[in-house]
Amino acid sequence: MSLLEVRNLTISFGGLRAVDDFHIDIKKGQLYGLIGPNGAGKTTVFNLLTGVYKPDEGIIKLEGRDITGLKTIDINKAGIARTFQNIRLFKELTVLDNVKVGLHNHYHYSTVEGIFRLPKYYKVEKEMDGRAMELLKVFELDGEAGYLASNLPYGKQRKLEIARALATGPKLLLLDEPAAGMNPNETGELMDTIRFVRDQFDMTILLIEHDMKLVSGICEELTVLNFGRILTQGKTGTVLNDPQVITAYLGE
């Protein structure tokens, strides 16, 4: 059974079909790429999958459970976490706190225990600190745990966003252009990190990317979108050599 199963996903904005009859099957543990020219509707697909937009038609199933039309927070609780094309960190919080907000729904103490600093507060906070530092170590951000997120360099901000998404304990991780704005060295590192996350956390990853080196380097399967519709779908090698795809990218 597929981890993510999407059928006939469609949404229109003011008469324009931004995403039309989108379908995808992603198996557990897969590294899957969603590519296509600018404006093809890739981010809209992410927004549909995470409940930011409600689809006009179609069905989204995660591990066989229908999650179509759920609210964003319930979709996150169901097991989908994401990053954003334009980085959305909690800028005025520290790097550590950014990850701790991600852990929010997995560690509990009441408001009263928090305000009156009862023993449970210290116990749970300590556990949260430990877990958050573990995650930060994976992304080599542990040295900057006390920095404000906005003070991190760009590449590290992208990594922190992934760490924060992972902190929510997802089954499926959606990465929206993780390599945007990175130099080739940083992109190389990022590829290693993504593979590491997949293996270490047993994660399934769907990513949007323009960097063909990254896509061909780590994605096992691809879906190509053009004008909101699926152009082609399949193994990475086959898809990238498809003349249709080359035309879509380079134009006639």
Binding site: T72, N76, A81, R88, F90, E92, L93, H104, M133, G146
Partner: protein, 357 residues
């Protein structure tokens, strides 16, 4: 690194507590040695009220990141509900117990209104939220001014018209008398109680900020969409911050009501102007900076009173301070200019500032 961060926050909070405590000791010494004018004496309880209002509004504006212009409305709810209770119960129980209950009732009533208003209002954003909180504040003030409640042997009577339509028995007593408000509320508020309430407010707010709930609230402020995407319940945490902020304002209202013999709802004390004045404290002290709010509230209350000649210009000074502070702290050009200055003259401090708290 982690240890250092913890201690830095804790140290910062400790400085705030010590500052309030020292201020209290200093005033006590002045009082004991008789070195304090009666004018200043009269200002002590209002000072505590303003400090509570400023720190609680900062929870909404600085920590939650939403502009509320109806803060005085919550103070009004706290003041009237508690004064009503105290009037009814005067003599029926020991004064200390009665005042404690009045405090709880005032804070709870204001918190309840915070939730009541918050549920619809917090769906809105920015400007809309500001104008609707302003509207709610005005509605509350308006309602209180046409509210008549009386008591006789048959129980309580309500009216929204005038005291005659309460149809009280001979021995009956009008408790809330429309625009004349409530008279004869017991004078329970003292400076010491005010300081204790400030401490409680600070403990609640500072500890909330540095907890799981506080992080969730600040994450909404920094990026609502990202917060939602990682499973933060926006409505719940907005309401939490808003209602806690309202309760503390309500408690400040209790203090206000029990410091005066006559409680009326005027534009001056519970209107939009009051809400703006509290906002000025918050802005001057630094949005999100709790200790700053305390200092700003004290300075801006004392200065015009001390420099009597300035009292005509008080509001004008507030207005100029507000505009200048906003331009200086928030205009991208001013921000960039300050960064450059710091880089040139205090490169070390700048590096330190990047590591926070």
């Amino acid at each position: 690194m982690k240890k250092m961060k913890m201690t830095k926050t804790a140290k910062n909070n400790l400085i705030t507590y010590i500052m309030v405590f020292l201020a209290y000791i200093a005033v006590q010494i002045l009082l004991a040695t008789g070195n304090i004018s009666s004018l200043m004496k009269g200002l002590l309880v209002p000072l505590c009220i303003y400090v509570m209002l400023a720190v609680s509004l900062n929870l909404t504006v600085g920590i939650l990141g939403e502009l509320s212009l109806g803060h005085a409305g919550f103070m009004c709810v706290g003041a009237f509900s508690s004064a009503f209770f105290s009037k009814c119960m005067d003599g029926a129980m020991p004064d200390g117990v009665r005042f404690l209950l009045a405090l709880l009732i005032g804070a709870a009533a204001a918190g309840f209104f915070g939730i009541l208003i918050g549920i619809p209002v917090l769906r809105l954003k920015g400007d809309y939220l500001a104008i609707v909180t302003l509207a709610f504040g005005e509605i509350i003030k308006n309602l209180v001014n046409v509210l008549y409640i009386g008591k006789d042997k048959n129980g309580f009577h309500f009216s929204m018209k005038d005291s005659i339509s309460l149809h009280l028995e001979e021995e009956g007593q009008v408790i809330v008398n429309g625009a004349q408000g409530i008279t004869g509320t017991p004078h329970d508020a003292t400076f010491t109680i005010g300081i204790i309430l400030i401490f409680i407010s600070l403990i609640i707010i500072l500890n909330l900020i540095n907890s799981r709930d506080g992080r969730a609230i600040m994450s909404i402020r920094d990026n609502r969409i990202a917060a939602e995407s990682i499973g933060i319940n926006i409505t719940k945490y907005k309401l939490m911050a808003f209602s806690i902020s309202a309760s503390i304002a309500g408690a400040a209202g209790v203090l206000y009501a029990h410091n005066l013999s006559t409680l009326t709802a005027l534009p001056k004390n519970f209107g939009y102007n009051m809400s703006i004045m509290i906002l000025v404290f918050v802005v001057l002290g630094g949005i999100g900076n709790i200790r700053g709010s305390i200092i700003a509230a004290i300075i801006l209350t004392l200065l015009p009173e001390l420099l009597r000649g300035l009292s005509d210009y008080r509001m004008l000074i507030y207005a100029i301070v507000l505009i200048a502070m906003m331009l200086f702290n928030w205009s991208p050009k001013a921000v960039a200019w300050k960064e450059r200055l710091k880089e040139r003259y205090f490169p070390k401090r700048l590096r330190k500032e990047k590591e926070v708290k």
